[in-house]
């Protein structure tokens, strides 16, 4: 069972619903270390990406590109360029195909990690969304089961509690960021979980 453009549309649709549902919780997390709007950015971004992807035709890459543009233009902020770059990189991996083997979603996760890292110039351990994307990408490339990839992302997000922010809006907090989750890492773990459902063949 391949991963088709319809599957990708369904994935974006699920991500939009998920972020809408988690909006206020993510805002509350961002209120503790940032400016309180991460849930809004993720909801607006994924809703716009979903709309753009739903209205787009063409290959998997075309859809990823449409999603990137939709997300970026609706949001800006930090999440906008990071997710836009992640989706563009994912599109490159997916290529001009109408469908791909589901297992290629492992490369998609890794490509998204690469996109975030390249755009954000962050390294793992700096208390950013990369701390979810990076362990997930490593697990995905290492052949881990979908649940294990999801768990790696979640553990990575959880581990941001023990990190002192070294980049982004919460960097200036210094030690005061300790004990708090990075909101971008928490939302990233949710995104990764939904991609892993698709990897598992469930969506």
């Amino acid at each position: 069972m391949e991963f088709t453009t319809d599957d990708l549309k369904a994935l974006f649709h699920r991500l939009a619903a998920r972020m809408a549902a988690e909006r206020d919780a993510l805002c509350a997390l961002d209120g503790l270390v940032g400016d309180g709007d991460h849930g809004i950015a993720m909801e607006q971004g994924m809703v716009a990406a979903d709309a753009a992807v739903a209205g787009a035709d063409g290959s998997l890459q075309d859809l990823f590109n449409a999603g990137a543009k939709g997300f970026l233009n609706a949001v800006g902020a930090s999440s906008g360029p990071l997710y836009a770059t992640a989706f563009l990189r994912a599109g490159k991996v997916a290529g001009p195909r109408p469908a791909m083997p589901r297992d290629d979603l492992r490369q998609i996760i890794a490509a998204m990690r690469d996109g975030v890292a390249q755009r954000g110039k962050a390294a793992p351990g700096m208390k950013t969304m990369l701390d979810a994307w990076h362990p997930a990408a490593e697990a995905a490339l290492g052949g881990a089961a979908p649940d294990a990839i999801t768990a790696a992302a979640r553990d990575g997000a959880e581990a941001t509690r023990t990190m002192v922010a070294a980049i982004g809006r919460s960097e200036r907090l210094g030690a005061r960021s300790l004990g708090h989750l990075d909101p971008g890492a928490v939302s990233a773990a949710m995104v990764i979980e939904d991609i892993c459902r698709a990897l598992r063949g469930q969506g």
Binding site: L32, G34, G36, D37, I40, G76, A77, G80, R169
Partner: protein, 333 residues
């Protein structure tokens, strides 16, 4: 219960605000066709002139779009509330304002803004337009390393100096140099007395109990350097002025420009009470006051609190600060 705001749908707040601004200030501002989030000065942009393009998230009004006008910024790119604009509005603003002499982007130093404006610069390069960037970093509470600091209310002085340089038809190199120089000599520190709340959530973004204050809080509610019991105004000013004066290292006889800024909900009476003490402290330090601005210049939605900015003047900056400007929400000369 949602916080008390005069808004409609929170997601529409920025676009409705822009509609209200364009309706109020048609002589000063316009929006280019197909560029819903770019605001351009009616007078100001002209051939041969460096275009000063500023921008950032909404919720800081009159920063940024209130400072678009002849003698100050040529255009602004408008983001969602507390969110950097995406690259497109910055590109739209730059293309509408540029006069063939290059574009200078100026905005506060935030990760999101840097990523988006950098993408805008890349896009402009592809169009053959040279774009440079000067980040404002005046919030001395936000980092020990100047380059990593946030840009806050000092923007108004820093933009003003750069805008005057551009209005004087100086070349891009010079405008950029002056912008960096103005930024290097501008220091701000603030104090928050309440949380703001976003129009989309209408909940306090963070918890600041009555009776407490947070010194050094950012203009998006980013935590500051110290939280403690709310102190009398003079003590708050003293704590901030001690930090600003130490950072600035001015010599007796030097002159400064002063901004006592409301974070949104703090009214003029309180700002002027602060300024009474600021003036005393400057006098004690042997510093002359060239100009004082008091009011809401860089706000944080409905946050209560204030910030104090000092720009350490030299002859060049004094001339540029005195240069006339005529913006929808800020006029001088």
């Amino acid at each position: 219960m949602p916080t008390q705001k005069l808004i409609n749908d929170g997601n529409a707040a920025v676009d409705e605000m822009l509609a209200g601004i364009l309706a109020a200030h048609p002589d000063h501002l316009f929006r280019p066709a197909d560029a819903p989030r770019a605001i351009v000065a009616r007078h100001g942009p002209r051939p041969g002139k460096v275009a000063l393009v500023i921008g950032g998230g909404s919720g800081h009004e009159p920063t940024f779009l209130g400072f678009v006008g002849k003698g100050l910024a040529d255009a602004a790119a408008i983001g969602n509330v507390f969110a950097s604009p995406p690259p497109q509005p910055a590109v739209d603003a730059a293309l509408a304002a540029q006069g063939g002499a290059g574009v200078l982007f100026m905005y506060g130093n935030y990760a999101g803004d840097v990523m988006n404006f950098d993408m805008a610069s890349e896009l402009l390069e592809m169009e053959g337009v040279e774009a440079r960037t000067v980040l404002t970093t005046d919030d001395i509470a936000s980092h020990t390393d100047r380059a990593k600091r946030r840009g806050v209310a000092g923007n108004v002085f820093i933009f003003k100096a750069a805008g005057a340089a551009a209005d004087l038809m100086l070349p891009l190199d010079e405008v950029e140099r002056i912008a960096r120089h103005a930024n290097a000599r501008t220091c701000t520190m603030g104090v928050a007395l309440s949380s703001c709340s976003l129009p989309q959530t209408r909940r306090p973004s963070f918890d600041l109990p009555v009776g407490e204050m947070e010194i050094g809080m950012g203009i998006h509610g980013e935590p500051g350097v110290r939280r403690g019991p709310l102190r009398p105004a003079d003590e708050v000013v003293d704590e901030i002025m001690d930090a600003l004066l130490a950072e600035m290292g001015a010599a007796r006889g030097d002159r400064v420009a002063v901004l006592v800024n409301s974070l949104g909900a703090t009214p003029l009476m309180e700002l002027y009470i602060l300024n009474a003490r600021v003036a005393q402290r400057l006098d004690q330090a042997g510093l002359g006051v060239h100009r004082t601005l008091v009011g809401p210049y860089c706000t944080s939605l409905d946050m209560a609190g204030a910030s104090i900015t000092l720009m350490h003047l030299d002859d060049e900056l004094t001339r540029l600060i005195d240069h006339p400007c005529d913006c929808a929400m800020f006029r001088h000369g």
